[in-house]
Symmetry: D2
Subunit: 350 residues, 4 copies
Amino acid sequence: MGATVAIAGASGYAGGELLRLLLAHPELGVGTVTAHSKAGETLGAHHPQLIELADRTLEPTTAEALAGHDVVILALPHGASAQLAAQLPDDVLVLDCGADHRLTDAAAWRRFYGTEHAGSWPYGLPELVLHGGGKQRDALPGATRVAVPGCNVTAVTLALAPGLATGVVAPDDVVAVLACGTSGAGKSLTPHLLASEIMGAASPYAVGGVHRHIPEIQQNLRLASGGADVTLSFTPTLVPMSRGILATVTAKLTGDGVDGGSVRSAWEQAYADEPFVHLLPEGRWPTTAAVLGANTAHVQVTVDEAAGRVVAVAAIDNLTKGTAGAAVQSANLALGLPETLGLPVTGVAP
Amino acid sequence: MGATVAIAGASGYAGGELLRLLLAHPELGVGTVTAHSKAGETLGAHHPQLIELADRTLEPTTAEALAGHDVVILALPHGASAQLAAQLPDDVLVLDCGADHRLTDAAAWRRFYGTEHAGSWPYGLPELVLHGGGKQRDALPGATRVAVPGCNVTAVTLALAPGLATGVVAPDDVVAVLACGTSGAGKSLTPHLLASEIMGAASPYAVGGVHRHIPEIQQNLRLASGGADVTLSFTPTLVPMSRGILATVTAKLTGDGVDGGSVRSAWEQAYADEPFVHLLPEGRWPTTAAVLGANTAHVQVTVDEAAGRVVAVAAIDNLTKGTAGAAVQSANLALGLPETLGLPVTGVAP
Amino acid sequence: MGATVAIAGASGYAGGELLRLLLAHPELGVGTVTAHSKAGETLGAHHPQLIELADRTLEPTTAEALAGHDVVILALPHGASAQLAAQLPDDVLVLDCGADHRLTDAAAWRRFYGTEHAGSWPYGLPELVLHGGGKQRDALPGATRVAVPGCNVTAVTLALAPGLATGVVAPDDVVAVLACGTSGAGKSLTPHLLASEIMGAASPYAVGGVHRHIPEIQQNLRLASGGADVTLSFTPTLVPMSRGILATVTAKLTGDGVDGGSVRSAWEQAYADEPFVHLLPEGRWPTTAAVLGANTAHVQVTVDEAAGRVVAVAAIDNLTKGTAGAAVQSANLALGLPETLGLPVTGVAP
Amino acid sequence: MGATVAIAGASGYAGGELLRLLLAHPELGVGTVTAHSKAGETLGAHHPQLIELADRTLEPTTAEALAGHDVVILALPHGASAQLAAQLPDDVLVLDCGADHRLTDAAAWRRFYGTEHAGSWPYGLPELVLHGGGKQRDALPGATRVAVPGCNVTAVTLALAPGLATGVVAPDDVVAVLACGTSGAGKSLTPHLLASEIMGAASPYAVGGVHRHIPEIQQNLRLASGGADVTLSFTPTLVPMSRGILATVTAKLTGDGVDGGSVRSAWEQAYADEPFVHLLPEGRWPTTAAVLGANTAHVQVTVDEAAGRVVAVAAIDNLTKGTAGAAVQSANLALGLPETLGLPVTGVAP
């Protein structure tokens, strides 16, 4: 076992998923686990699936408790992680699953979060295609700070970026509607997350341009398109499943010369060699069930000529490729390990 | 009991819902029930909820079996109903829950259905706002033939039509993404509708401009907008619930003078007096659970200024307001009964 | 509208279901609605399905607020209702959906609830078959106080009582295992009721003879069997559905002379004339979906000769026949109205 | 990669789960995959989660197609596997996930299956505690034929066997009620397995002593108890989840000297060293979500003194520990590999 990993915020869903993945990782071992209000309790009380770690006690989340590890992964509410990270040594690899260090634009941060910007870290979405060639992956080897993307952001970005990078679709009128599992909202004890409210129900939230993932998606799509302004209508909906995001994303075709062939070719080229992002065979559409528990995104795209739009769809598990798997994948890259090490590709379906 | 109603296709989900509603209707009584492959079996074998009708035998679907009733409701696959309806007397009220008589444009029919057009009937969406004032309701009193709308169509139309009728939104770039319960697909025995495939899964279908509800939505929105061409990107997704449609619909604002106030006013004006369509208070978004089993649509709308779009959302029960309730509502109107007679407004939540 | 009904505890699930049923009742009208911590808020904030009552304000739960109605229905935690009921006039019909007044045995109350017994009221399960003939229904006309049964209790009692009343099964080794929807647990904000924890999960709770519904079931089965002691193993399990209880109950056959015929005859005789309890045709087993939203119990029974046991199964909706419907049914009886008035028999399936 | 494995019946759910596990196994590699009616199609068309095998073609299920592998796993309907296995060489390890070779009692086979008995194979439930010491595990090293247990059987056996082996509970009146996910029923295209019928519904099936898993459970419990006759009431219920079995099993305490301590001690002793069967800490009850996708059983037990019974509960994933994981675990043992090799212990929760 090469390196030890401390987890801050280990009592939550992202924390549990990080621990599940680390238990199966050949080079990363579980170190200290911390929590806020649950400090002093055992992991077993919060994660019945983690049998092997059931007796581990959650320590209070402090820089001291996290010290002495090779890697620290923060699974904390936004605001909390910036403060904590500042107290961790520079040569420790710190990955932040929260939002604090994702945005490069301080004004966008202030507009959507209402607090001072903590600065930005290398962004942990290796498969993000960049305009002019290359991918975000190149920024990660040797990094000691990584901002893990938001789960909705990953789904929308992976669905659409190839079209922007190649110029076959336009960035000025993107519409994304997502079907989201409830674990993305964490363990917040609010009535609308009760099982009785969710089962049999679909409902939207954060409608009308206010969701905090919007500037992060725009940032990614701007990188893909080479700097263009991105106009985005973004609506997440809660549907009755624990895990999973299905992002349906449409954007306008850029011109008459763009057809199904050039569109497909753009996506094929982007993802042909990706171990975790798969363009499905034509005619087959993603289902979130197929990526459950896997660090995998399934993507499909088609052209609606009458509407003058592409429709691109991506399915991910919000806790795996959407959060914990992305953190481990980025840790692998930062540490110089094989990118895919210890990460499941096959979903637990049906 | 004023009138008797025969149901063709009574073994399916729409048929079962029609019977549930008729059992509670003070002026419409259940007459003959028919089926195709299930003829000879009892209703009890197919609809365990219909205790009071459990011993009724399904007769073969023929014009003879349906004769002698005041009302005939057809819940048949498209193609089947046109042929049958042609054999029924002109003075019998016939409501077709299938697609055969919804479209006025024969070319659109041929393009999406690939068969000859059977002609169009008065369209059973009373709340459809028409350009220049008035609603579709006015076409129904005294009608002896009614085309019941498609369930997805009802959701998208009710969500967006007020904005088109008042000109605050534009018809040229409408995007609709729907979260749909499985009962809309009927009892088809196909693997992708098995419970094991659906639970825990969200997936799109009929993507890219091929869904047969598209021309019907365009027809309605054209009526609302006063004849403009409607460009529509339409993507339905299956989510793990038996009933319910949540339609998230966005369209561009028409100009700088249009703001949240004028948008809200358009929707308020359209639905202020509607018994079955409710614009929710600001800040509260529709959930399909709230309309389960009810002939009710919940609607909300907001303006995303950065995206230059309205986002309008409607929730309905696909089997009630989406199909069987719409048929009964239209039958009430056609027969001169109170429009709301016998129809539930309150959903079965949680 | 004959009588007005005040609801205490109207912000909860039982309160919402009471209001749904009252809205459809021809002789009972909604009066004051009260709540504890939610007082001052509107019904619309808690029950999106109750469109017609959305603007009603919840008043604080006090005897004063409840005064001046013909009927008061209490949907409160146990302990709260006894105190409040004592302050209401004797001639007002008070129905308690909580546990305070269900048990006749003060010692059993103290053993399971740990507080002083508030005394018992006429018990609102009209279909409970009593040993020696008669049913519990006879105790309700003219009553001014009614204890509404527990939801699990209703399911287990209706499943098994006919066998005890006729002596074909023995009371000394009853085993009941229930699959329960989450709404029975109310809106408690506890992690194990979060949607993320419930979907995809089945788990038992209150195992090993500690559930508070046990003495109430024993009381009912004792009444059915003519005073015999009832030994009961009772295990409820939470399964991923909002509503519904499926009770699987087994008890030993009393002798060699008892066979499938005499067992079926016992159940047929008990329920032949019941409007809300239906023994299904042989070979067809209850499903909770068929009773969703209905004041209906579906029951089936069979003999397992090798095991020497009957297996009796009942399905109810915990909020309707299990709580709110039972309250309205008892109110009908107490007020001299037709027992079935305003109560739905048909479930909302699929 | 040490050994190659052929899968017969690879298009079904058990086949898919076998392939998922084999993809992660360091010593077993995927060889030929076969199917019956789906022969000629690709795995990708049936198992969207198996991205790495998407292009593999399903061959027809014949002895020829399966030849030349070290291991053959049969995931076929009962009846089919006996015939096929007879054509495979004696020195190839054959594991049958079907029922054909599980029962040692030919009369019991005929009574429940109605056909001639194919004979019995070493039984692949390593953790089955045997009366007088030892476990079923000892029968597996070097075996070339293994009968993989039924999924319900595994859950009930693991829940109760320790009590019978130590004599603290009696075998003469066992009652088991199970909450079962739908994938246990496979991909059968029958209406009652449609998502619309299952979601929101709990219902029993094969009630009254007719389920084919009964004699297999009795056989196991007889082995645990040292030969006593086992009387069993067994009722499975379908609940709305794709995977998972929660078995609630009760049996009578054997005497006054038996208390909570001796009961807990019996279970602790049985499972203290088991890698895949975990007795939970007192007060914590199993949930199927915690074992999703894992080859793990969670078990808990308590004493209900008033009822004179233990209540023992086990949760497994029917496709993993219930079928495919059990096959791989037995293959590991038969081949002399570490028993736990390549098998996940941690469930994918929430």
